[in-house]
């Protein structure tokens, strides 16, 4: 199962994400997010971060999750490559993420992300498989 694939979206980029569970979907979405910014293979797991988030709906939770990663990247220059959702329900999640601080000698920056949008946002379960679509403003 391809965990995510990128979508053409004009001057921006979108991603279609799959997951056998909601947790897996959120983990795959996070990996896809950092794949836009850098080459995750270059990101070592030197530090770990615990994240707790809330959302009014599962869709808002997904956007909040990705926005949190964007915030950590912009404010701490934190690149993350491994994600584990410890607990998730329709309105909240607890997770662990691993990665390291940006190092200009080792981490290529492909492009910067301005925002995680609500445009054409989709999140639903279909025959046991979780699917999502998110568009990012570049």
């Amino acid at each position: 199962m391809k965990r995510f694939r990128f979508l053409d979206h004009g001057g921006d980029v979108g991603v279609e994400v799959l997951g056998a569970s909601l947790s897996e979907l959120f983990q795959n979405a996070a990996e896809a997010f950092f794949r836009i910014i850098t080459d995750p293979k270059t990101v070592r797991r030197k530090q770990s971060r615990r994240l707790t988030l809330k959302g009014e709906t599962p869709e808002q939770l997904l956007v909040a999750w990705l926005n949190e990663l964007l915030y950590l990247f912009e404010t701490e220059r934190l690149l993350l490559s491994r994600f584990r959702i410890d607990r998730i329900d329709e309105g909240s999640l607890e997770a662990h993420a691993e990665g390291e601080t940006y190092d200009e000698r080792r981490h290529p920056i492909k492009t910067l992300v301005k925002a995680v949008t609500f445009h054409q946002l989709q999140l639903h379960e279909e025959e046991g498989l979780w699917k999502a679509r998110i568009i990012f403003d570049l």
Binding site: G10, G11, F118
Partner: protein, 484 residues
Amino acid sequence: MGEEREILLERLDAWRWRIPRAGKMRTDGLIFADQKMIQAIRKDNSLQQVVNVATLPGIVGPSLAMPDIHSGYGFPIGGVAAFDASSGVVSPGGVGYDINCGVRLMQSSLNRRDVEKKIPLLVATLFKNIPSGVGSKRKDLRLGKKELAGVLTQGVRWAVDRGFGSAEDLAHIEAQGCIPGADSDRVSDRAMERGYPQLGTLGSGNHFVEVGFVEEVFDTEAASAFHLEKDQVTLTIHTGSRGLGHQVCDDYIRVMLQASRRYGIELPDPQLCCAPLDSEEGKHYLGAMACAANFAFVNRQMITHWTREAFGEVFQLTPGQLRLSLVYDVCHNIAKMETHEIGGRKVQVCVHRKGATRAFPPGHAEIPAEYRKVGQPVLIPGDMGRYSYVLSGTDLATQETFASTCHGAGRLLSRHQAKKAARGRSILKELAKMGIIVKSASTGTLEEEIPEAYKDVEEVVRVVHEAGISRKVARLRPLGVIKG
């Protein structure tokens, strides 16, 4: 979202098309475009977005679309919509994520011949002086969170007070570099935290700093008023409010989703979420938006300062000799409270311009005195391989478009398509062969921003010129470009 059948378009003349008011629309749609463009415009859902905007409460005049219109998030990009100050709404989607993404143009005492051999050095020096990479900072800008509030409420005056510009710069910026009503209490901690490390940074995507020259003058009187002449070296800066603005937009989309429900505003698309201008939510958004806009003005001012330093370093000239002066600085993504005359009465409105530029006419009190005879400068960037335009505002724009016009070329290829087209090619070498030196901080950006990924800005400019809502003044060509 919207009906399946084709949206009815009435051709008014060679450059104007109307979507007659129908269904839930409160007003007509009015699109500026030529025949060829309309066919392309029909292919994405931007016309439906023009229709959707027309349904919002308190809209004054038509739901407008400039010739560079394309599909956006809720509101189309290249859209203009004005709302009555007492009965209308304000919407973050009508401004965009990159609040006050805009363009600044400078002119110098240098001639193209003076600089051509030194372009590679100039590009390298600009790249060194202007923070463009992730986490890069200038040592002369040590900004704490407390100081950021000053940036947000004072705009460019904050920078001038600290020696990063002059009073003359201030006079040549839209709103004198400070949108009134900025309230830093309305900006979230998260937005502040994203903002303070990024002040003075370029950002990636379609942002750039470009050294160019005036290739052709179309209107000698206006060009002369703007201090532009053939072969003169120019400097263009295109950037916005960085993470601070993006976060403000994000924060207020959430606020407005709730507000739309609270005030019973029917939304054909949730991304049109809004609140009445005279509501708490509406005022708070405007207060925060002004902060983000001022951040962007200061951003362009800091980059201006470091650009002046770079030129000084490379050409070994004093600022007095270089005379790198501001022609003008305009917003492309903004909501402005303005007074316009509608049916003989003066009406206060909130004009949303998302991917559109203000274009005040000759005689307008808000433009610098030396421009009043010819109108406000309008800066229209093209792609890095071709050209950009300088236009001037007209009376007709004031009558028809709330003094608004286009903002740029718009994309032709998606990022993925552009990357595919660029595969196996050395874009840097191709541009160098054309006499254009480019340096980019991020690895993906160059391929995604190749000239052929963009429409020809000349076509967009031709429409606004022929329609009479702007006048062509000059065409600029690039010599050197830096990208974040």
